[in-house]
């Protein structure tokens, strides 16, 4: 079903699919967020704070670079650690205090953005990053946008982890039934903590890419990115309730969103239409998935009713 969505969009916008590397750059950040979001949603949770955390990390990076005069490499490392720390805070609240991920990350959504805005007093923007850093965001490397290797590396790692390792496969079990997973001996709290920390870490990494792409760090960086990440994950066939889904599906979802945005840009539609379409797309994807499940359930019941009662003793 995910492939169907992708090709439907691909076909419609095929004519406008020229070498729009700029959109690939934008998609790299969404892709990073979506990778971690896939793991989070697989466990039946959600992380609404990634967009705001991206903004906060961008601001922190800018402050370290411009105000504290920290060497850029070290600043990046500190920012990544900060993102992981924020993710760890979410993780602690969710696993230790057993709070619903919804409200914890919703508070984070507000809190992180608020801190970012407060730190920049609402208007500050950090610029003046060195050319070497901006290379990551704006130049090409071996003919493709420089962000691409980062995205590929993270996507490969996510793919390997979620599908290849026992730990990753346990995520789906946790999403399907947390209590069942616990009885099966799976360290549920540890796995949950891992996915939320990873979510924070990728948000920080995406913040680095974002800053490199735009050449500036602002408090409103990443606004709305959590919606895009969730949409990509749902489009890619992952169930919003957890327990089923795949990383390659999410990658297709990211691609589908990129294609949609690309098409809209070529049709010279303003930015708001892209947001409108993303929201509508998410609704359609969710409704489609729910409707599909209902139809499948109904069809199976018809089939069972049509057969003679052989299987019932």
């Amino acid at each position: 079903m995910a492939e169907w969505v992708f090709f439907a969009l691909y076909g419609r916008h095929f004519a406008s699919l020229d070498n729009s590397f700029d959109l690939l750059r934008h998609s790299a950040e969404i892709g990073l967020l979506a990778m971690a979001m896939t793991a989070v949603i697989l466990t039946g949770g959600i992380d609404l704070s990634v967009g705001s955390l991206l903004g906060l990390c961008a601001v922190v990076l800018g402050m370290l670079w411009r105000d504290a005069h920290v060497p850029l490499g070290l600043a990046v490392v500190i920012t990544l650690a900060g993102g992981a720390l924020a993710g760890a805070m979410n993780a602690w609240l969710i696993t230790w205090l057993r709070l619903p991920p919804l409200i914890v990350t919703l508070a984070g959504f507000s809190l992180f953005r608020g801190i970012a805005e407060a730190l920049t007093r609402g208007v500050d923007t950090f610029t003046g990053f060195p050319a070497g850093f901006l290379f990551l965001g704006q130049e090409r490397w071996l003919g493709a946008p420089a962000q691409l290797p980062v995205l590929v590396a993270v996507a490969a790692a996510a793919w390997w982890f979620v599908h290849g390792t026992a730990g990753g496969r346990s995520l789906r079990v946790i999403g399907y039934s947390p209590e069942g997973a616990r009885y099966a001996g799976i360290p549920v709290e540890r796995r949950l903590a891992l996915v939320y920390i990873a979510s924070g870490l990728t948000a920080a990494l995406a913040a680095v890419l974002y800053t490199a792409r735009l050449g500036q760090a602002r408090a409103d960086a990443g606004t709305g990115y959590e919606l895009l990440a969730i949409t990509a994950v749902v489009l890619g066939g992952t169930s919003i309730f957890g327990g089923a889904g795949s990383v390659p599906g999410t990658l297709l979802g990211v691609a589908a969103i990129a294609v949609l945005n690309n098409g809209l840009v070529h049709l010279r539609q303003p930015r708001e239409v892209a947001g409108l379409c993303t929201g509508a797309l998410l609704i359609l994807a969710l409704a489609g998935a729910a409707g599909w499940k209902k139809l499948a359930g109904r069809r199976r019941r018809w089939q069972l009713d049509a057969q003679p009662n052989r299987s019932i003793p």
């Binding site: 609404l48 508070a107 239409v273 729910a290």
Partner: protein, 314 residues
């Protein structure tokens, strides 16, 4: 009084805060600015009531802000075309109810999680409105402001309407069968269903009601200024959720009261102007809001953990 323990502690914190302000920032208590603050908070109170109802029913609605903006613009456009007030009021309520019904159909009808559905509708309404308005504000005719009453009377009237609505809803929630249904569905939807209460219909009606109430709130807000800003609802849902959660409404449903939400709202509404009067930076308001939600929820979680209860999933 232990049933309302949480509400009383919030009221206590509010009282303590007011005493603090009286001592250190007495300029806060001037009548005219205070009246204006109360009038500005009245629409937020109505939205908080709507949000509390939704939360008690174990749902969530983060599209309330965008819904508010759309209804404000609709009311403004109708007023600019000189529609009579008797038409504007039901029309705005209807628009709100229809948008709420969309949420209701997706959540209650299709069983989709409320957070994601309302996230999607929030963005859709907001971007659609921005696209259509292109950032333009709507100018309102003179007669529409304060429903044609003088300002102080208009402000007082708005506050009375909001408080009256709160009273009606709170009474209905506690004493009517429908109110009991909301608590039942919020505590355990399956048990409610087995008891004969239709959880999906209750959920649907909650969203429709929230939409209509938010539309009313938009109307109460529109009459306060000569123009309508299409971004007026931004962040409103967070304020409402924060107020409700601080006031004791549980995110996992089934607990809380509208009076608690009122106390929570008053506490939070004083933070912004208090910061100004204490000459602190206003940029910390959003961060404070997030921190307050977090603290309230952590306190709840800590108490639940130490009393041995399991976690509630949203």
């Amino acid at each position: 009084m232990s049933r309302y323990a949480r509400e009383w502690s919030v009221a206590g914190a509010l009282a303590a805060g007011l005493v603090f302000l009286a001592l250190f920032a007495p300029s806060f208590f001037q009548p005219q600015p205070l009246l204006s603050l109360a009038a500005r908070t009245a629409p937020v109170l109505v939205v908080t009531c709507a949000m509390s109802l939704v939360l008690i029913g174990r749902q969530i609605d983060i599209s309330a802000g965008s819904l508010f903006s759309v209804c404000s613009v609709v009311a403004g456009l109708l007023a600019a075309r000189h529609c009579p007030v008797v038409v504007i009021v039901p029309a705005t309520l209807l628009v709100g109810a229809v948008m709420g019904a969309l949420n209701g159909v997706l959540v209650a009808g299709l069983g989709l999680p409320a957070i994601v559905v309302t996230l999607a509708t929030m963005v859709t309404w907001r971007e659609g409105l921005r696209w259509e308005r292109e950032g333009l504000w709507v100018d309102l005719p003179e007669r529409f402001q304060w429903f044609g009453l003088p300002q102080a009377a208009g402000q007082g009237g708005l506050i009375l309407v909001a408080l009256g609505l709160l009273f009606l809803l709170a009474m209905g929630l506690r004493h009517s069968a429908g109110g009991r249904f909301v608590y039942a569905v919020g505590s355990d939807a399956e048990a409610a269903r087995l008891a004969g209460i239709p959880p999906r219909r209750v959920g649907f009606l909650l969203f429709v009601m929230a939409g209509a109430l938010t539309g009313l709130a938009a109307l109460l807000n529109t009459v306060q200024s000569p123009q309508v800003d299409p971004n007026c609802g931004n962040g409103l849902e967070m304020k409402a959720i924060a107020a409700a959660v601080v006031g004791g409404v549980a995110i996992s449903g089934g607990r809380g009261s509208l009076w608690g939400a009122l106390a929570g709202l008053l506490l939070l509404a004083c933070v912004g102007p208090a910061l100004t009067h204490l000459h602190a930076q206003p940029y910390w308001e959003k961060a404070t809001q997030g921190a307050v939600i977090l603290m309230a929820v952590v306190a709840d979680g800590w108490r639940a953990r130490s009393s041995g209860r399991g976690r509630g999933r949203a």
